[in-house]
């Protein structure tokens, strides 16, 4: 047992522990520190009683104040919702065009639309609407089903070729599979492909192009229009046939992809969101998508 030794210089007792001749002074803790420590202990005891503190297996001590962080959050969300109600009501009561013209509503719809978009749309169309093969770019100027606010609103509500009564396009059915269904033979597909390439000023065999033109006029004009301008430009509603003279191709505009498309057809679909999202949300989305840059 270490004996008590007094340090000569300071007159303070040492702890009796010695390391290489150095002895530790047994100075008391500073009073202010000690009192704060005691206050903290007292505080913690009060806290245990007032607030949820101790886990008890499947439950916990609830505390006298009945405070609950979860309820706090629920209440805060409710408050936030109540704060948004004014705008949401206004959005629900107006057309997408009217929302666009109202500065406050536009800002609100854009902010909301961005998060709704990231939550629901970005998976297919990409964050920012850059699209991908088979998933249209929403920021460009090619719109198979129309790019006006009303068109975009309709598309988000009811989808394309979706299981919804008001959807556009026939569910499960899109462009005819000219090769698979035996309407065109390989040679004709080859010729019409070259014709389309020539329309886009790409390399094509002139002999095939002349024959392909005939094939095109006999088979494709009904949907894509006599100038290959696409169904929207040709004024044909509910078909969704893209313009064939352009540089943005949903499934690729090179020879191989064109042959693949003509042989097997395409039938891109989009779900109807009216089943999952409320009207104000869909309107906000329509505003947001329209403002991505592709809206017409």
């Amino acid at each position: 047992m270490a004996q008590k030794i007094k340090d000569e210089l300071s007159g303070v007792e040492t702890t009796g522990h010695e390391w290489d001749g150095l002895r530790e002074l047994n100075n008391p803790l500073p009073k202010w520190w000690l009192y704060i420590f005691y206050v903290c202990i007292a505080w913690s005891l009060v806290y245990y009683v007032l607030y949820p503190a101790w886990p008890l297996g499947s439950t916990y001590t609830k505390g006298l104040l009945g405070y609950s962080q979860r309820e706090d959050v629920v209440q805060k969300i409710a408050e936030a919702k109540a704060g948004q109600k004014k705008y949401l009501d206004a959005i629900a009561g107006k057309s997408v065009d009217e929302i666009q013209k109202d500065k406050d509503l536009l800002a609100f719809a854009m902010a909301g639309g961005r998060s709704y978009f990231n939550e629901n749309c970005a998976a297919c169309h990409g964050a920012g609407g850059q699209g991908g093969k088979g998933f249209p770019t929403l920021a460009d100027d090619v719109w198979l089903w129309g790019g006006s606010t009303a068109d975009i609103y309709q598309t988000i509500q009811h989808g394309i070729r979706a299981d919804d009564g008001a959807t556009r396009g026939t569910p499960g059915t899109g462009m005819t599979a000219f090769g698979k269904d035996g309407i065109l033979n390989r040679e004709q597909i080859d010729q019409v492909t070259d014709y389309i390439l020539s329309l886009n000023k790409k390399q094509a065999d002139p002999a095939k192009v002349a024959k392909g033109k005939t094939v095109f006029e006999e088979n494709c004009v009904a949907c894509h229009g006599d100038q290959a301008q696409g169904s929207v430009a040709a004024g044909l509603d509910g078909i969704g046939a893209p313009p064939l003279v352009q540089s943005n191709w949903l499934y690729g505009g090179d020879k191989a992809n064109l042959v693949e498309t003509i042989t097997n057809g395409r039938a891109g679909m989009m779900p109807a969101w009216a089943k999952r999202l409320d009207d104000a949300t869909i309107k906000s989305l329509a505003v947001y998508v329209h403002n991505l840059g592709g809206g017409k």
Binding site: L9, Q100, A139, Q246, S247, G293
Partner: protein, 491 residues
Amino acid sequence: MTTTAEAPTKVEKRPSRSLYQKHSKVYPKAVHGTFRRIKWIALAIMLGIYYILPWIRWDRGPNAPDQAVLLDLANRRFYLFFVELWPQQIYFLTGALILAALGLFLATSLAGRVWCGFACPQTVWTDLYVWVERLVEGDRSQRIRLDQGKWTPAKLGRKLLKNAIWLLIALATGGAWIFYFTDAPTLLGQMLRFEAPMTAIGFIGLFTATTYLLAGFAREQVCTYMCPWPRFQSAMIDEDSLIVTYEEWRGEGRGPVRKSQSWEERQAAGLGDCIDCYNCVQVCPMGIDIRDGLQMQCIGCGLCVDACDDIMTKIGRPTGLVRFDTQTSQVSVAATGKPTPFRLIRPRTVIYSLLMLVIGGAITVGLILKPGLDISVLRDRAPLYVALSDGSVRNAYTFKIANMTRDPRAYTLTVDGLPGATIALAGDGQEAQASSQRLTADPDMVATYRVFVTAPGGSLKAPSQPLRMVLRSADGETAQYETVFMAPESR
């Protein structure tokens, strides 16, 4: 080998001057004299400025605050008389801080720690608190006796009264500080109606507590242990700086004055002018003995000079045994009896002054040329670019215009660096492509636009090329922003 009883080892006693000193309370004694008067005047000026400044009005026109000095953190604007700063102009604060530091250096190189002794808030409020203390508890000896005595109702009453007045001063201090951050009359009205916002109350509480603790209890410890300035002030002074000095050659050796002894006899006995009355120590708010020489703790307030001069006059000796003087002059006086003239112009004072002129000039020029317009451009990252059906490429940018004037302004946006490029704006259904676009911004607001820049397909030489956006206001002010225009690799 014979065993002899070992003599007990003798422990050599060292002078017990520990590295670690326990805190001993300082009881500054009342003093009268020149420096005390200067300190009162400085205190009145400092407190006057502090309390009056937020109440000065300054007309900035409609929809703008009319408070001369307002640090509007909520709306992120600083108003200082005719200067109005936005967050992105915070570098002026850097300039002001550098200027303040240089001013401190210059003052120190000229006259030691005069800032600490006369103008520092810690000194000003401590001085005020000591004055209250003296008023309630009496002067030094009475206070010491009171503190050593037993707790009696009278003692408790005095202590309570002192602390109550201290708290009131602290409250007035904390309360005045927040007037700098919001409209003062409005806030005072709210405070009087007990409607002040929680933030205001919280900060008043904080500043009240810190004033009370720092000026009431921490006092000289703030200067000695918390403030970094004394640690390197010695680098700012030289032998030509005015400092509080003790004329050791004249004062030593010390000894009490005896009626029976004439000054000649006293000198013959090896005693100097210092009669060891300890008045200089007792009046010192830092609790130091100036006769030990220049010390880190000395704040250069000169109260010891007043105290010593008083005594010297009483005993019929020349004043100035403790005085404001330079070391050069002291050496000269000790050797030849003649002081040297004060050298105002020295390399360091010249350099500090020049630097202050340069920085001050830069700030002035900066304020004069301060633009009323600032733009920032953020390019869309997803998608990096959009290929359009006719082969052209489009990039989208978020375009922000900070209109720092008090008028609504209209601007023309053009782009440089892309031949044939067109600009369109999102929203409002007005997305016409044009070579320039008209944008507007409300006064004192940031307007945000989504800008689309489209370049014809053939015009793009590289996947990424520089693009300069130029915004020109109707009255000719221009702002530019360098960004890039991205395009697919194959184009």
